[in-house]
C-alpha cells in the first residue's frame, strides 16, 4: 500500500493488483484489453513514447453503439470518397492528445490489414482512414477505434453540411503582399542610393516594374481594408479602416502620377510595406483555434442516431416514418414478436416512435417513459447537480442523460420541437460589432481629424506661398500620417494576447473579446459545472461514527447498485475496505436497496426509502433526537444538510443528495453528496474586486451557506433559476448599465451566455461540447480568471504605449511632409522603422506582462486587490 499502483495503460491508480498481465497492472478490464490488443500486434511503442498515454476504459462502450453506421445515409456523412476498392472516411476522435496517439492511429494497418492508411490531423483531432470496404465496414472501423480506446464522436452535426474550410484568403493576400513588397524594395534601392540621372531607361524601367508589382498589392492584398472601410462608411460609422484605405489610395494615386509623369519614383514600397505589415497583424489576430468551435448548437451535442424499437413482425429495415405510430400501439406490441432494434437518424424520428435509451445515452427527444425507471442527469440542461428519478408514464425531456439501466421512451415531440431545441432557438441572436466599437476606432477618429487639420493648414500655407507645392504637401501628409501604426499596434498586441492566453487554456473568440473582458463590471457565475467540478462529488458522512465492519457493510451495499450515487460511494469507500457476503438482496431502482449482511438487515437509499424501515422507539443517533427524525422528514433532511431554510422536501433533487443508511431499523446516518467546488475559489470576490459578483444557479439553494463562506461576503447568490430567468437577469443587469460577463457551462446557461456582453463557456476538456460563447476556458483554469482579466486590461495600455511611440515617428514624417519635401527615401525608412518598433514593443511588453500576471506560481488570491488601474 506504500506505493500506489498505477495502471499501465491510463496511469490511474489501480484499486487492486488483481487485473494484471505479466509485469503490468491495470485499473480495469477495459485498459487491459487495449494493452493486450496492442501487445499482440507489436504496437507497444505506444507505451514507450509517453508515460501512460492511454485513456481510461472503465466505462465500457455498448456493443451495438455504432450499429447505425451500417446504414448508408449515416455512414455517408463520414465518408469522403469511395470507389470499388477503397473508402475514405474521417472520424473525430476527442481522445487524441499526444504523440503516442499519433503513432498508434497511424499504424492502424498493423491491427487490421484492411486499413490501408490512416492519418491524423492533430489540430482538429480528426483521423482520415482509407480502408477496403470489402473486408471491413465503416461500423467495424469505428468499433476497432473504440477497442483501442479512441471512440469516435459522431454527432447529429455530422449529418449536416460539411465543415467549412478555414479561410486562407488572408494568408494568400499576405503572401502576395510580401512578395511584392520585397521586390519593390529591391527595385527602389538604386533610386535611394542615387542612380545616375543619365540612366533614364534603367530608372524608368525600375519605376514601371515597381508599379506593376504594386498593382496586385493595391487591387488584391489591400482589399480587406477597402471592404471594411466601405462597409463602415455605408453604416455611417468611421472606423479605423477608412483613413487607412484613404492613405493607401492617396499613396497609390500619387505614386502612379509621379511615375507616369516621370517626376519621381513614387511611394510604392511604403504602400506595399504598410499593407504587408497590417495584413501580418490581421493574420496574427485572426488566428483561429481549429479544435474549438465557438458556435456550436444542439446538433453537436446530440448523437447522430438512436435505437428505435419496432414492434412489427416484419418490415423493411428502413421503416417508413408513417408506419412508426403503429409501433406504439399496445395491441401490436403484445401480438408481435420481440421488437426489432433499428438505428434511426435523429431527424427521421417521428412522434410515436419508441426509443431504447441505453445507460449513458442522451435522450434526444421529449417523450413518455414507457418501460424502466429512468435516472436522468439533467445537469447540462438545467444545472441541477444530481440525477432525477422519473417513473414509468412520466415525461422526460430531451437533453438529459440516462444514468441508470436501459429505458424505453415513446416520442411525443420531434427533435426539432423538443424542449431543448426550443430553448436553443429562443436564444437572442447576438448583435455585436456596431453596438460597441473598439476604442481604437474612436482613437483613430481623433487621429484622423488632427491629420486632416494638419493637411488643411499645410495646404493653406502653401496656397499662399507656393501653390505648386500644396498638392505635394497634402498628399505627403496623408501618406505619412495614416493611422496604420494604430492598427498595427492593436492587431499585434491583440494577436499576442490571444496567443498567450490560449497557451494558458483561455481561448477567446476574437480580438474584440479582449476588450469586452477588460471592461466587464459584473461577473455572473453558474454553479454546477462552473464553480463545481462535476466529475467527482464530495462525499461527507453525517451521523454516528462507523466501525470498520459497518463501513465494509456499506461499501458492500453500495457496490450492488448501479445508481450513480451508489457507484460514487462505492468508489469512495473501496480503497479502504473489503466486501462482505450479502444475502436477501432486494433493490428498488432509483430508490434504494435492502439486504442481509452478517444476520443484520441493512437498508440503504433515499430518505423516502429508508424512512418507513425505521423501527419506532429505537434510540437514534447521538447527534439529533429520534422523534424529530421520524415525524418530520424535512427536519431530518434539513438537519443533515446543514441548512434548515434551504431544503424543501418536495424538491425531487434534494433527497437524492444523500444516501441514508439504516441497520436493523436504526438510522446510522447519511452520506451527503455535494458538488465539489474547484480548488482555489476561496476569496474570489476579493480577487475580482472592482467587479460585482453574482452566482446564478439552476440548482436548489442547499449550498447557499457553503458558497457564501467559500467565495466571501458581498456576493449575490441566486438559486432555482430557469434558463429564461437567467437570461432575464443578465438583461436586467445590462439595463442598469452593467457590462456583464457570464461564465457557465451548461445548456441552461446558453441563453445567458448569448445575452451577456461576454460569455465564457467552461469546458472540462477543450474537445468537449460547449454552448456557443465568446470564449472557452478550461475548468481548472477558472481560478486564474482575475489574472486573465487584469491581463486583458493591460492590453489597452500596451496599445496606447506603442501608439504614442508611433506618433513620434509620425511627427518626424509630418515635419517633412508639411514642408513638401517628403522623399520616398524618408518614407521608406520611417515606415519599416515604426512598424518594427511597434512590433517589438507590443511583443516584448505583452510577454513580460504575461510572465508577471500569468506565471504558473501566481495564484488568483496573491494578486487579489492589486488592480492594474
Amino acid at each position: 500500500m506504500e506505493k500506489t499502483l498505477r495502471c499501465s495503460h491510463c496511469g490511474d491508480p489501480c484499486p487492486s493488483n488483481r487485473i494484471a498481465l505479466g509485469e503490468h497492472y491495470f485499473c480495469c478490464d477495459g485498459c487491459r484489453l487495449v494493452y493486450q490488443l496492442l501487445d499482440r500486434n507489436g504496437l507497444c511503442t505506444y507505451y514507450r513514447l509517453n508515460d501512460h498515454p492511454g485513456v481510461n476504459q472503465r466505462i465500457p462502450v455498448r456493443k451495438d453503439k455504432f450499429a447505425f453506421l451500417d446504414q448508408e445515409k449515416m455512414a455517408g456523412s463520414l465518408i469522403t470518397f469511395r470507389n470499388g476498392e477503397e473508402t475514405h472516411a474521417s472520424f473525430y476522435l476527442p481522445a487524441i492528445h499526444c504523440s503516442s496517439c499519433l503513432y498508434l492511429l497511424e499504424n492502424l494497418h498493423k491491427l487490421n490489414p484492411a486499413i490501408r492508411s490512416s492519418r491524423i490531423d492533430f489540430g482538429t483531432k480528426t483521423l482520415t482512414l482509407v480502408f477496403d470496404q470489402r473486408q471491413l465496414s465503416l461500423r467495424e472501423t469505428a468499433e476497432l477505434l473504440t477497442a483501442i480506446g479512441y471512440e469516435p464522436y459522431i454527432s447529429l452535426r455530422d449529418l449536416g453540411s460539411a465543415r467549412p474550410e478555414p479561410n486562407r484568403r488572408l494568408i494568400y493576400r499576405l503572401g502576395v503582399a510580401g512578395f511584392c513588397f520585397g521586390n519593390i524594395m529591391l527595385l527602389s534601392f538604386p533610386e535611394y542610393l542615387g542612380i545616375d540621372a543619365s540612366e533614364t531607361f534603367l530608372r524608368q524601367s525600375f519605376r514601371y516594374l515597381s508599379f506593376l508589382l504594386a498593382l496586385p498589392v493595391f487591387f488584391y492584398s489591400a482589399q480587406p481594408f477597402f471592404g471594411a472601410a466601405w462597409s463602415g462608411l455605408r453604416s455611417k460609422f468611421l472606423n479605423i479602416d477608412a483613413p487607412i484605405a484613404l492613405a493607401v489610395v492617396v499613396t497609390f494615386l500619387r505614386s502612379v502620377w509621379e511615375v507616369s509623369s516621370g517626376t519621381g519614383p513614387g511611394f510604392f514600397d511604403s504602400m506595399s510595406g504598410i499593407v504587408f505589415f497590417m495584413l501580418a497583424g490581421r493574420v496574427l489576430q485572426d488566428r483561429t483555434y481549429r479544435a474549438l468551435s465557438f458556435d456550436r448548437d444542439y446538433t453537436a451535442y446530440f448523437p447522430m442516431a438512436v435505437t428505435v424499437l419496432q414492434y412489427r413482425a416484419a418490415g423493411d429495415p428502413t421503416a417508413s416514418p408513417d408506419s412508426a405510430p403503429h409501433a406504439a400501439d399496445p395491441a401490436v406490441r403484445t401480438a408481435g414478436a420481440a421488437p426489432r432494434e433499428v438505428s434511426k437518424a435523429l431527424p427521421d424520428l417521428r412522434c410515436g416512435d419508441t426509443l431504447l435509451i441505453h445507460s449513458g445515452e442522451l435522450i434526444p427527444a421529449d417523450g413518455i417513459l414507457t418501460r424502466g425507471n429512468a435516472l436522468i442527469d439533467y445537469s447540462f440542461v438545467t444545472g441541477e447537480s444530481l440525477p432525477v428519478v422519473r417513473e414509468m408514464g412520466e415525461i422526460v425531456y430531451a437533453g438529459g442523460r440516462q444514468t441508470g439501466a436501459a429505458v424505453e421512451v415513446l416520442v411525443i415531440k420531434e427533435v426539432a420541437q423538443s424542449y431543448l431545441t426550443q430553448l436553443w432557438n429562443r436564444q437572442p441572436s447576438k448583435t455585436r460589432g456596431g453596438t460597441q466599437p473598439s476604442f481604437i476606432h474612436g482613437l483613430s477618429r481623433y487621429f484622423t481629424i488632427i491629420v486632416f487639420a494638419v493637411a488643411a493648414s499645410a495646404a493653406l500655407y502653401w496656397q499662399l506661398h507656393d501653390p505648386h507645392k500644396s498638392w505635394n504637401a497634402v498628399t505627403a501628409v496623408l501618406i505619412v500620417a495614416c493611422p496604420c501604426a494604430l492598427l498595427l499596434s492593436s492587431t499585434f498586441t491583440n494577436g499576442n494576447l490571444l496567443r498567450i492566453m490560449a497557451r494558458k487554456q483561455f481561448y477567446l473568440r476574437n480580438a474584440e473579446t479582449i476588450e469586452h473582458v477588460a471592461s466587464a463590471t459584473h461577473i455572473v457565475f453558474d454553479k454546477t459545472g462552473t464553480l463545481t467540478d462535476t466529475s467527482s462529488p464530495e462525499i461527507l458522512w453525517q451521523g454516528e461514527t462507523l466501525s470498520i465492519y459497518e463501513q465494509q457493510a456499506i461499501a458492500t451495499l453500495a457496490a450492488q447498485s448501479t445508481h450513480p450515487l451508489s457507484r460514487a460511494l462505492a468508489a469512495f469507500l473501496r480503497p479502504t475496505t473489503e466486501l462482505l457476503y450479502i444475502t436477501n438482496f432486494i433493490e428498488r431502482p432509483g430508490q434504494g436497496l435492502d439486504a442481509l449482511i452478517g444476520g443484520r438487515r441493512w437498508t440503504f437509499g433515499s430518505l423516502a426509502f429508508v424512512q418507513p424501515q425505521l423501527s419506532a422507539g429505537k434510540p437514534g443517533g447521538p447527534d439529533h433526537g429520534p422523534a424529530a427524525r421520524r415525524d418530520d422528514p424535512s427536519a431530518l433532511a434539513a438537519h443533515n444538510l446543514g441548512d434548515p431554510t434551504a431544503v424543501r422536501p418536495e424538491d425531487p433533487a434534494a433527497p437524492g443528495a444523500a444516501i441514508y443508511i439504516a441497520c436493523d431499523g436504526h438510522l446510522l446516518g447519511s452520506y451527503c453528496f455535494s458538488g465539489k467546488f474547484r480548488e482555489g475559489l476561496h476569496g474570489l470576490v476579493n480577487s475580482l474586486a472592482p467587479c460585482r459578483l453574482t452566482v446564478l444557479s439552476g440548482d436548489n439553494s442547499r449550498e447557499y451557506h457553503r458558497l457564501q463562506a467559500l467565495l466571501g461576503e458581498g456576493i449575490n447568490l441566486l438559486f432555482d433559476r430557469s434558463p429564461e430567468e437567467k437570461t432575464q437577469y443578465i438583461r436586467h443587469l445590462q439595463r442598469r448599465g452593467e457590462k456583464v460577463m457570464m461564465i457557465g457551462d451548461g445548456l441552461n446557461d446558453a441563453g445567458a451566455l448569448q445575452q451577456s456582453d461576454i460569455g465564457i463557456a467552461i469546458a472540462a476538456d477543450c474537445g468537449n461540447f460547449t454552448p456557443s460563447s465568446d470564449a472557452i476556458l478550461r475548468g481548472d483554469q477558472l481560478t486564474r480568471l482575475p489574472a486573465f482579466i487584469r491581463f486583458c486590461r493591460s492590453g489597452r495600455s500596451i496599445i496606447l504605449a506603442s501608439f504614442v511611440l508611433s506618433i513620434l515617428y509620425n511627427i518626424i514624417g509630418l515635419s517633412f511632409a508639411v514642408q513638401g519635401v517628403l522623399s520616398p527615401l524618408v518614407a521608406a525608412v520611417l515606415m519599416p522603422a515604426s512598424s518594427l518598433s511597434i512590433l517589438l514593443v507590443t511583443y516584448g511588453s505583452s510577454n513580460l506582462l504575461a510572465r508577471i500576471l500569468l506565471a504558473d506560481g501566481a495564484s488568483a488570491s496573491s494578486w487579489g486587490g492589486a488592480g492594474m488601474r
Binding site: 503513432y103 499504424n107 490501408r116 492533430f122 489540430g123 486562407r168 494568408i171
Partner: protein, 81 residues
C-alpha cells in the same frame, strides 16, 4: 549573356556598352523576379495543400522508427503485385 560581359578578350566597345549593361540588368531582374515568383507559387501551393494546418504531427511523425503509414500509392503497388 553574363558570360559575354565577363569573358576577357571581348571587344571593349561591347563591354562598356550602355545598352548591354542595361539589357543584362533587365534580364537579371526578370530572372530574379521569376525565381521569386516561383517561391511565391510554392508558398501559395503549400498553404493550399494544408501544410500549415497541423504543426504537431509532422515533426513527430518523422521520428517514429518504423514507417508509420504506407501511402496510398505504396498500397496500390503492393496490391497490384
Amino acid at each position: 549573356m553574363t558570360n559575354l560581359i565577363f569573358r576577357p578578350g571581348r571587344s571593349k566597345y561591347f563591354y562598356t556598352s550602355k545598352f548591354a549593361t542595361m539589357s543584362v540588368i533587365i534580364l537579371l531582374l526578370v530572372a530574379s523576379l521569376s525565381v521569386a515568383l516561383l517561391f511565391l507559387g510554392a508558398f501559395l501551393w503549400s498553404v493550399r495543400n494544408k501544410q500549415y494546418d497541423d504543426d504537431y504531427s509532422p515533426p513527430r511523425r518523422i521520428l517514429f522508427d518504423d514507417s508509420p503509414t504506407l501511402t496510398n500509392n505504396d498500397n496500390k503497388e503492393l496490391t497490384s503485385k
